[in-house]
Structure formats: structure tokens, C-alpha cells
């Protein structure tokens, strides 16, 4: 009887790391999904703000304000075309503005060499702003 119990404990000890890795993978995939959806929504809101204001600060502010539950400081963004290039430095009404954002997912145990997961999203809107 005591021998059987010892065998079960040894088997559990062998399987436990595998179980933990599987649980971690499931949590990571779920986190990835949340990040992809949040970033997609935030880029859409930021592009809409850009379409109405043609202002990079407003675009980045809207992105940061709507990217929850992600940490805004982990989000990097790019706006195309840039503010100081045509058509955005003239009368851009009717042209398209694209906001791209990427987010680096914080990985638990990242220090042991687990790969970094970077989520990207982009959204485009027609500029309605007039100078």
C-alpha cells in the first residue's frame, strides 16, 4: 500500500512540470488573444481621431486611452503618412490615414529565454479634417 502511494507521488512529480508548461501555454494564448483584440480596437479609435483632427498627439493620446487592458507604455505606434509630408501637411481631406501599433506581451519566466510575443494591428480611415 505504502509502495503504491510512493509510486503515485513520483509519477505526479514527473507530470507536474508538464502540467505547468501546458497551463502556462494556455494562459499565454489567452493573453495573446486579449492583446490582439484590444490593439485592433485601439488602432481603429486612434485612426478615427486622426481622421477628425489630423493631429499626431491626439492620435497617440487616443491610442493610449483606448488600449486598456494593455499597458500603454508597452505599445509603440506609427502613423502613415507622417504629419510633415504631403498630403497631411497641406489639405489632406479625402486621403487615407493609417495607424499601426505593436505591443510586446510580457511573458512570465521571460528571463529564462522564452520567446517574446509581439502583437501588431493597424487601422485606416479617410481624413475628414480640413485646414
Amino acid at each position: 500500500m505504502s509502495d503504491d502511494r510512493g509510486q503515485a507521488i513520483v509519477e505526479f512529480a514527473l507530470v507536474l512540470p508538464v502540467l505547468l508548461v501546458v497551463a502556462l501555454a494556455i494562459v499565454l494564448v489567452a493573453e495573446l488573444g486579449v492583446a490582439r483584440l484590444a490593439l485592433q480596437r485601439a488602432t481603429a479609435e486612434a485612426a478615427r481621431a486622426g481622421a477628425l483632427t489630423n493631429d499626431d498627439e491626439q492620435i497617440r493620446g487616443t491610442l493610449a486611452a483606448t488600449v486598456a487592458p494593455l499597458a500603454p507604455e508597452r505599445v509603440t505606434s506609427a502613423i502613415a503618412p507622417p504629419r510633415d509630408e504631403p498630403p497631411r501637411n497641406g489639405d489632406p481631406r479625402g486621403s487615407l490615414l493609417t495607424v499601426r501599433a505593436s505591443y510586446t506581451l510580457p511573458v512570465p519566466l521571460g528571463f529564462v529565454g522564452l520567446p517574446r510575443f509581439v502583437v501588431t494591428a493597424s487601422a485606416t480611415r479617410r481624413i475628414e479634417w480640413t485646414p
Binding site: L14, V22, A23, R36, L37, R93, G94
Partner: protein, 133 residues
Amino acid sequence: MAAIVIGIGALAVVGLRVVQDRVLANAVAQDAGEAAVEAAAAAVADAYVAHLAGLRRLAFAVPRPTADVTRLLADPATREAARSAAVEAAARSGAAFEGTVDARCVGGSIQVELHHAGRLHRAAVPADACFPR
């Protein structure tokens, strides 16, 4: 035992990814539809403003012309401008829009509608000239 745990785990991870991809594709299609209808509404608004500006130039003509929004919205040039704006915005949002854009007066605004990926998208442009006179 370990093999069974790994198998169940792999199945769970793959299943989660598949469902996630579907949810995200849904969100991207929704966003493309929104971008398309907003672009179409902006194109219609431009046409409406140009129409009003044209009327203003004829303000002293006799008889004085009045805004005819219904006719403006039925004009093939307006419809094509709205459709091409929608197509361009949807394409840049990673989707193909091949439908038509409907625009009509509803109350005091022009309502722009299109169907994309099985969904109805709407946008409205305030237009006083839509009020019945």
C-alpha cells in the same frame, strides 16, 4: 500519463488559437466595414457641401434654385464617389468591399448605409436641406 497531458494541452492551445483567429477576423471585418461607411459618408458630405456651394453662387438667380438632396444622392457621380471611397478604405483595412452604398435623407440628415461581411454599417451626415419644405 505525460503524453496524455501534453495531448490535451496541445488540443486546448490549438483550439484557443483557432477561436481567437475567428474572433479577430470578425473584428477586422467589422473595422473595415466601419472604415468603409465612414469614408463613403465623408464622400457624400463633400458632394453635399459642393452642391450647397454651387447653389450659393446662384443665390441671386431668378428663380432662385433650391437644394435637391434626393437628386444629389441619386446622381451616379455621387454614388460612385461614395462607393470608390468605401472600396479604398476597406482595401486599406485588409478587406474587399464589393457591394453598393445607399444614401438617403432621413429626418435632418443624410443616412449612408452599406453591407459588408454580412453586417449593416451606417453613418449619418447632418443635412438641413433634407428637411421637407
